[in-house]
């Protein structure tokens, strides 16, 4: 269920972590940021948070599977914008307000990745970011609610734990994200059906302890591809996850 895209992602190579099918950005002679910028088609990628940049790759992989026109974009993660905001503040102090790049400002908001990716996904119903420790579960609940109340036909959820700033990635941190597509109608590809108690099926807990753990469980669930008979329940089309190790 991991879509490896073509020429824009020539930098991708089979990962060396021993986990099959997970692409990994190669450490090239160019800086990591340049590598990500080249991999994503995001305009002004350099000024966006990492979540937006790697999320765009996931959106590109999954958007063709969305068949409806009522679309929503949701993101879940902790502070993917925080480092951008901090960097913006430091530049403000060092150079003053007149030397600020206005392109950076919208990416200091917690909703930045959601609206950036929402534009890519043509999400004309909403683009919302969920935050807090239970953000993944909250986002999945909201996605199912949007589908169940016929507000949308497709919801693309991007989960990211890329806490590192785009301009100052921490070499010791792992940046990763997963995009999953939920739809009102079953998908043609093999997919995982979301059961009504999906929230509790996330590692069998009723309360989330961390986004990192939920991300791991979500990845595990997305890995299990099943062929289900067509039903009205929402289904996850699949995920696109990759690691960036500096």
């Amino acid at each position: 269920m991991y879509a490896i895209l073509n020429d824009p992602l020539e930098l991708l190579e089979p990962n060396t972590l021993g986990v099959e099918g997970l692409p990994r950005l190669r450490r090239a002679s160019a800086e990591l940021l340049s590598a990500i910028s080249e991999a994503t088609r995001l305009r002004h990628a350099r000024y966006c948070g990492v979540a937006s940049a790697i999320g765009e790759i996931a959106v590109r992989a999954l958007a063709p599977l969305a068949r409806g026109t009522g679309r929503a974009m949701l993101t879940a993660g902790i502070d993917p914008h925080q480092a951008v905001a901090e960097n913006f503040g430091m530049r403000l102090r060092e150079a003053g307000p007149r030397r600020l790049n206005p392109i950076m400002f919208p990416h200091t908001l917690p909703s930045a990745a959601a609206v950036t990716l929402g534009a890519q996904f043509e999400a004309h119903t909403c683009a919302i970011a969920l935050d807090g420790r239970a953000a993944v579960q909250d986002a999945l609940s909201l996605a199912q609610l949007l589908l169940a109340t016929n507000q949308v036909t497709d919801v693309l959820l991007f989960v990211c734990i890329a806490m590192a700033g785009f301009e100052r990635p921490d070499p010791s941190r792992e940046l990763s994200g997963i995009g999953v597509l939920l739809g009102a109608q079953p998908f043609a590809v093999n997919c995982l059906r979301v059961v009504p108690d999906f929230e509790t099926s996330l590692s069998g807990r009723t309360q989330s302890s961390s986004i990192e753990e939920d991300l791991r469980v979500l990845t595990m669930l997305a890995n299990r591809t099943k062929s289900e008979p067509p039903e009205a329940n929402p289904a996850i089309a699949g995920g696109h996850r990759f690691y960036v190790n500096c």
């Binding site: 403000l92 908001l109 609206v115 950036t116 929402g118 534009a119 807090g132």
Partner: protein, 362 residues
């Protein structure tokens, strides 16, 4: 077509704003129409403010022992005004930059580490946090209205932000602020006034009696530019039309509109076009609160709904301050305006990234 929402009523309002430290004070200040702008050099922030702003009076901007900064205080202060103990309330919250200024102060100077607002604002109960820029508060409303299908509530919605150097400088860098106080929907308006504040609403299902209710909540998204709205106002227009449809009312049923009206030409032109397109030939009174107390960010939409509820109760509409030619021929509230109480009122909000939300209160 979306399912029709279950009826939720607004049973309590709390607010802290540049107009006052309670909802009653805020409402009185909005009716008076006194502009609350403060010069940039009087705004105490981690980095000197780049433009004027509207401040909450006497707001403690330090970080306390729990890691709470002024934004967390605003949120808690608004919630505390909701009468009665929280009894099984489902708590939904929204913020933009939150306590970014205190976090910046820590990053720059090592002053008092400020916690993430999602962790420290309401540690005593579970809270769903979302962010969608200036539509955050109304997306909470939308979420509650969808949840009402299967949940009994009650709900407590709260949104708020404190002033931050990043926010003020960012809006200035984006060309959104101006040298004068904002004059929403005027051709000569030069920009918005950044402000701070928090609003809390209590919603209950199946209320009887004389209370304002949410007849419809509709959402759309331009899905275009990161900051600029769709200049045609198309997606906002669709959002308004869907809200009217879901509320089973025609344009001429709407007596008043509490618009987003930031005072920037980009927002106001697009919003005026959308309103004019939907209400062509009708004459609802249009007002914006942002000429008086500025733009309180994530709480702006909830403030508009709170005002819509008061208009429903009293028939009194706060003025839309400003002078000069009016965009798209809108009928603006010139001074305090009266309409018949218990009518249908439309509240709007739009945000960075193109999110729009329309609410019909009646």
């Amino acid at each position: 077509m979306p399912d029709r929402p279950h009826k939720l009523s607004i049973t309590a309002i709390g607010a802290i704003s540049p107009a006052g430290s309670t909802w009653a004070e805020t409402w009185a200040g909005l009716l008076a129409g006194d502009v609350r702008s403060v010069a940039a050099d009087r705004v105490p922030l981690a980095v000197p403010a780049a433009a004027p702003a509207a401040m909450v009076a006497n707001l403690d901007r330090t970080t306390d022992q729990y890691g709470r900064g002024p934004a967390a205080r605003l949120l808690r202060g608004a919630v505390l005004q909701i009468s009665g103990a929280l009894d099984g309330h489902r708590v939904l919250a929204a913020t933009n930059h939150g306590d970014a200024d205190n976090q910046l102060a820590f990053a720059l100077n090592g002053e008092s580490p400020c916690g993430r607002i999602q962790d420290v604002a309401f540690p005593e109960f579970g809270t769903i946090w979302l962010a969608s820029a200036c539509t955050g508060g109304l997306h909470l409303l939308w979420l509650a209205s969808m949840e009402a299908k299967d949940r009994h509530g009650p709900w407590l919605l709260v949104a708020g932000d404190a002033l931050s150097a990043i926010g003020i400088a960012g809006f200035q860098a984006a060309g959104a602020t101006g040298p004068r106080t904002p004059q929403p929907f005027r051709e000569t308006s030069g920009g918005m006034l950044v402000a701070e504040g928090a609003v809390a609403l209590e919603l209950r299902k199946d209320c009887t009696g004389d209370v304002p209710s949410l007849l419809a909540v509709s959402a759309s998204c331009d899905a275009g530019h990161a900051t600029h709205p769709d200049p045609s106002g198309l997606w906002l227009e669709r959002c308004i039309r869907n809200a009217l449809r879901d509320a089973s009312c025609k344009p001429n049923d709407i007596l008043a509109i509490v618009a987003h009206g930031t005072g920037t030409q980009l927002n106001d032109t697009a919003e005026a076009r959308a309103i004019a397109a939907v209400f062509s030939g009708e004459d609802p009174v249009v007002t914006s609160l942002k000429g008086t107390i500025g733009h309180i960010m994530s709480a702006a939409g909830l403030l508009n709904v709170a005002v819509a509820a008061e208009i429903w109760r009293t028939g009194r509409i706060p003025p839309c301050v400003g002078e000069g030619p009016i965009l798209s021929g809108l009928k603006l509230a010139d001074g305090e305006t009266m309409v018949a109480p218990a009518g249908k009122i439309l509240a709007l909000a739009s945000g960075f990234g193109g999110n729009n939300v329309a609410v019909v209160v009646g």
